[in-house]
Symmetry: C2
Subunit: 730 residues, 2 copies
């Protein structure tokens, strides 16, 4: 763990208001110089942070349409004059005064500009697309002139030409380097929201029949019934293509449009949590229950708040309600409760840290102090020692060896456990950090009454005065063995009597595939050449875990793991976790499904993040196979990792003159179970783990059918090959 | 086109001999110091270039197996002693004298070492794999000690653990930077070649029952019947994974093992032509007909040549026959025939050249001279002009304008066409290169009797004395419009009378997806940052065209093309071709299917290669969608390109709670045909193009069924976004 500046961190979302052309039209300037200035002042007074307004008027739409969209049946003369006007405009694109809503710098202050919603950047017609691109750049140039920082683009609507849409956005990001572009996207297929279609909101805040959303012009071809999940995937797939083609540009964000009703199963929405959502577009007419605590603290744009869709509470009620939902949301509340990981970790979310190397480096005292504050970890160690002491025959002499004592927290806990168990023991404390050893000597004199045998030196080579019955160590890293616990304990095993007890008694590493644009960009932008070739310690927030395996271990030096991917997503990396059994059913866990049951509120470890250089696209219902190796030479330890993707199709689907792959030469169900080693904690007889076991059964949905075959569809590079970028010194 | 040193180019394959441990055992040294030295001398005397021999003996296999593979039922004592021996070996891996075949530097000269074939680098057992890796590195270290440059590794055998095999190879490439590693791989599933199975060779050179291949130890699990194509795909897929995980290291090559019988349909083998085949392993017992002219001039290793499988001809007959096949192969013969593209292009194969920019740059005289030597191009122009003159009313005055006359080849051809047609005309020649204009003036005085109106200047701005009936230009690039023909001709259109004729009358650009490790590596290794973001002119050789479309045009500013991919492959780039109609049915074409019919032996254009930064894996029966844009601003023209891959699966195959994608929002058959614009030449009424039309019909195999849905499986980046790396100056 490491510290970085978190002072800029504000846990609250911004709330803005969306005003339409009608709102502007019906505003009289009263004591202000222009209607816009009055609207700006009004919305400030109502407590809104920013104002979101369309940049152009109906007049511009009319002129552009007359020039660029020749209607059927016009005369050749008017056709020619339109073509001439268009060519003149293309050479020198510009607005007339009454074609824009804003003309002054002071009007534009704090404004988020909505680009003309009728621009079809993905029109099927080459020329319409071409002229829409010119018009878009004209609007962006005008917004830049007015010092506007953020604009919202109309949504892509045509899967056939979304690549052209993306190409245009990429070109704008290059040409307008100081503008933030945000793409408005309905969270799923908005076709159910055609004005003529009744709203199908499952949890409406209030019933309303007035649910037209002005900014969504849906073409006829999208009119179809569809499952919610498929529709979320289709819109997400468009977004994915756009941001990939724009090379994950950090100035490109997403405006999630919640105008369409939320789907009934919120699980399919989790993929949006991994994206850079900057704005949430929230018309008052839609329900607003079930709002998730979006990770990026986006700007919430309230639309139609003044239209009186609801009879009570007035306009202020909407933002008050959003604030209320935010305040009462579990995600926000937990960050305010001292002692929680979420409270402790504020400012660390998605922040990449280099893993500690306590073997190679001598840690500073401040680092020891941080980790000693963990309210759970040492309590678990004390409990484990206490139970081990109770189980130990009362008349035998007890020798406890603390291997890697640091500043002495485990020594202190050992004394307390002995006191609770009413036992006496010889305590040996081994430590190789000469600086920490000074602190140990001081505590020895001041607290421990010289009862501890202090041994200075590396546990792999020193000798202890007596062999121990119980060997206690805390060498675990986020991924279990990444702080070289195996190598150290191999050396310290000499200290233990033949039937002695080791605390921890075992530990397991866990891997899960992970999607996160944010982490991918963070890793990519690290200054060092390591970048995407080294693992990081990260408190995950804006991530989407694509799949969690039943159970997996890398007690061996390598593991090959298979994951079923239910929803399409982009693989950006692997999340690494550990789970350790200290003694009996006392454990430590950072596994996302089990940590709260095993060691709730433990702060010492964030997960490990293994990045991938090239994001790998994973379709829905695909299978991911991950290989990871823990490698060593005489001086270093390192990990290498690699992934392949597959799709399972019915055998009858194979067409053409050949089979796609040899089913029998591909991983079989049996090779899967060979790596699915049972987790020691899962196999525990204690009730605390029952939930976990149930969870495992639920997850076991990976279908292997004899009448299907598996087709390979992609793979990543081999990462950190030869340990060239990340290694852990021995 | 550009020249580079081709002196090192040797069109012949090297032939080597493979000797087994038995061959060595039965050799007496006679007047040589060691048996190996005698074998080296013998094989040199027989005309072999190099000697391929196993590096280790049976003794090493025995010691390794006893240490590392504990048999069932051994006593605990011998188990412990084996474990101790193994641990001692692992700490200090090394051979004893009788465990290796070669011990002296002079023995190793020119030797290709075969690594112990029994090493299971992809064993399912972690420890066997681990010890095999140590043994492999021990052999490589010993080979390095003996100054051996090339070693051949045993084939991967286990699809489940081929990632581990690849990881080990990558590690060896790093640790042994001066060794070339070549992976022996049967061209397809060798399981039909189990010693007990009768040989199923379709075109055997001679019948033989003695077809065991000593180096292939096939595990029981691979025993299965399979189609040939599926099996080729399976072995290729293993190779693809290995070289991808080794990041296309140029020191990693392929030893194609032709021990298994060749498949009946050679089409499935084309993917190997795009790979870096360094050696071909060819036992005398297998048939050797149908040998393809492998592009890299690999080393052919003849095995068992001295074993007398065939009663007549003796050992020398085999290499003589290989030489005969090589000499008589069409691919080699054509390079020896003067006037062929293959002869002209020797040394240019797969060599990346920057496209010419004749508009921005003034070409040197030597470049004009090279292109004027084309035996076909100017003949076609002359024929087109001749036919146009014939079709022109006899009593009208004829004005011919040559736009971009260069050093005057088209002027000279124009005179000849006029003479043939018995017509007279006013000839205007426009040229903007002041240096070439000097040559024009000289020819005007010496050859043309001052009959030509020479006009100096840029055709986009100059004026000509009289409007022309026929405008002739030769501004075409490899991709049609990439030398700015449209921009120039837009400017020169002023020269033409209202119903005048343009030669060429039309042209079309064609794209095809392409796989080539060699081109990918070449583009990647260019020193400039452009590297993989700019198109190149290339004479393709070691490439595999993954698919050819029915027909496609980018007369518009952008095109989206769909390709059906029958066989799995890696997309490394796009091949760009053009086809032009000069007049009537006289054309120019570099389209691979049509060039021989339209303009055989034309030399002036090699195709264009648009590279992709990250190779995209395309499974068998997948669909590739390519978008390409031709973009412009006031100063530059550039292309951007992008690709997405899809797989079509039956609707019933979709499992889980959601649909994979919305079929109706994906490209439909109608959008495909909208880009399938007919080629002008294909639509010609002349019989010369009939074959082409037939070919199109045969290729139209892209299946679109209503009961299938299309799932996206991958995509590339947007290349050359914003024209940042490649542009063509206006």
């Amino acid at each position: 763990m490491d510290y970085h500046d978190t002072s800029a961190w504000d846990p609250h979302a911004t709330i803005s208001t969306y005003l339409t052309l009608e709102d502007i039209a019906k505003t009289s300037n009263e004591q202000y110089e222009t209607p816009i200035l009055k609207l700006v002042a009004d919305s400030k007074q109502k407590g809104y942070k920013r104002l979101c307004i369309p940049l152009t008027t109906e007049k511009w739409k009319k002129r552009w349409s007359e020039m660029c969209l020749l209607p059927m049946g016009v005369t050749p003369e008017s056709k020619e004059s339109a073509a001439l006007a268009a060519e003149t405009w293309r050479l020198n694109p510009g607005f007339r005064k009454d074609e824009v809503t804003i003309t002054r710098l002071d009007e534009a202050e704090g404004v988020i500009a909505l680009i003309s919603e009728w621009l079809e950047l993905d029109a099927a017609d080459d020329w319409v697309r071409h002229d829409a691109e010119i018009a878009l750049k004209q609007e962006l140039a005008y917004a830049t002139y007015l010092n506007i920082q953020t604009v919202i683009l109309p949504p892509p609507r045509n899967r056939d030409h979304v690549a052209s849409y993306a190409r245009i956005v990429q070109s704008c990001l290059t040409n307008f380097p100081y503008l933030y572009l945000s793409i408005r996207l309905p969270i799923y297929n908005p076709s159910v929201f055609q004005p003529v279609t009744p709203m199908l909101s499952p949890v409406p805040l209030a019933s309303t029949a007035n649910a037209t959303t002005p900014s969504l012009v849906i073409s006829e071809s999208e009119q179809q019934s569809d499952t919610e999940g498929g529709s979320v995937n289709a819109t997400w797939e468009m977004w994915d293509l756009i941001r990939s083609m724009c090379d994950y540009n950090i100035k490109l964000t997403l405006t999630i449009d919640l105008s369409p009703a939320l789907p009934t199963t919120l699980g399919v929405l989790s993929k949006w949590a991994a994206e850079s959502v900057r704005h949430i577009f929230l018309p008052s007419s839609t329900f607003i229950a079930n709002m998730k605590g979006y990770p990026h603290r986006p700007n919430i744009i309230l639309a139609e708040a003044s239209e009186g869709h609801h009879s009570r509470g007035g306009e202020a009620a909407y933002s008050q309600y959003v604030r209320h939902l935010e305040k009462t949301s579990q995600a926000v509340q937990v960050t305010k409760r001292p002692g929680t990981v979420e409270n402790f970790a504020q400012g660390y979310q998605d922040y990449l840290q280099a893993p500690l190397q306590p073997l190679m480096d001598n840690l500073p005292s401040i680092t020891y102090q941080t980790f000693e504050q963990d309210p759970v970890k040492y309590a678990q160690y004390e409990e484990a020692m206490y139970r081990a002491f109770l189980d130990y025959p009362g008349d035998d002499k007890l020798v406890v060896c603390i291997a890697g004592a640091g500043r002495g927290p485990l020594v202190a806990r050992c004394f307390r456990a002995l006191e609770r168990a009413d036992r006496d023991a010889m305590i040996i404390a081994v430590e190789k950090n000469p600086n920490a050893f000074v602190t140990l000597q001081e505590r020895q004199a001041n607290e421990w009454d010289n009862k501890v045998h202090l041994v200075f030196g590396d546990m792999r080579v020193v000798n202890v005065p007596e062999k121990a019955n119980i060997l206690v160590s805390e060498l675990l890293g986020s991924f279990g063995d990444n702080e070289l616990s195996p190598e150290c304990l191999d050396g310290a095993a000499r200290f233990l009597k033949p039937n002695g007890i080791s605390i921890p008694s075992s530990y397991t590493a866990h891997l899960a595939p992970l999607s996160s644009s944010k982490l991918y960009n963070e890793a990519r932008s690290t200054k060092t050449e390591k970048g995407l070739e080294t693992p990081y310690v990260v408190m995950f927030q804006a991530v989407n875990i694509l799949s969690l395996p039943i159970t997996n271990s890398h007690n061996a030096r390598s593991a090959r793991l298979r994951f079923y991917i239910p929803h399409a997503g982009i693989l950006h990396g692997l999340a690494g976790y550990f789970e350790a059994v200290l003694y009996g059913n006392i454990g430590l866990s950072i596994h996302p499904h089990r940590k709260d049951q095993v060691s709730k509120d433990m702060l010492s470890w964030f997960p490990l993040f293994f990045p991938f250089r090239e994001p790998l696209y994973l379709p829905s219902n695909s299978e991911l196979q991950v290989s990871i190796w823990r490698l060593t030479n005489t001086r270093q330890i390192w990990y290498e990792w690699h992934a392949e993707s597959f799709i399972s199709i019915p055998k009858s689907a194979s067409s053409g003159e050949e089979l796609l792959a040899q089913p029998s030469s591909l991983p079989s169900a049996s090779s899967f179970s060979s790596f699915g080693a049972p987790s020691p904690l899962v196999d525990s007889k204690e009730p605390i783990f029952l939930d976990t076991r149930r969870l495992n059964v639920n997850e076991q949905s990976n279908p292997v059918h004899a009448d299907r075959e598996i087709v390979k569809i992609g793979h990543t590079s081999l990462h950190n090959a030869g340990g060239r970028s990340s290694w852990i010194g021995l």
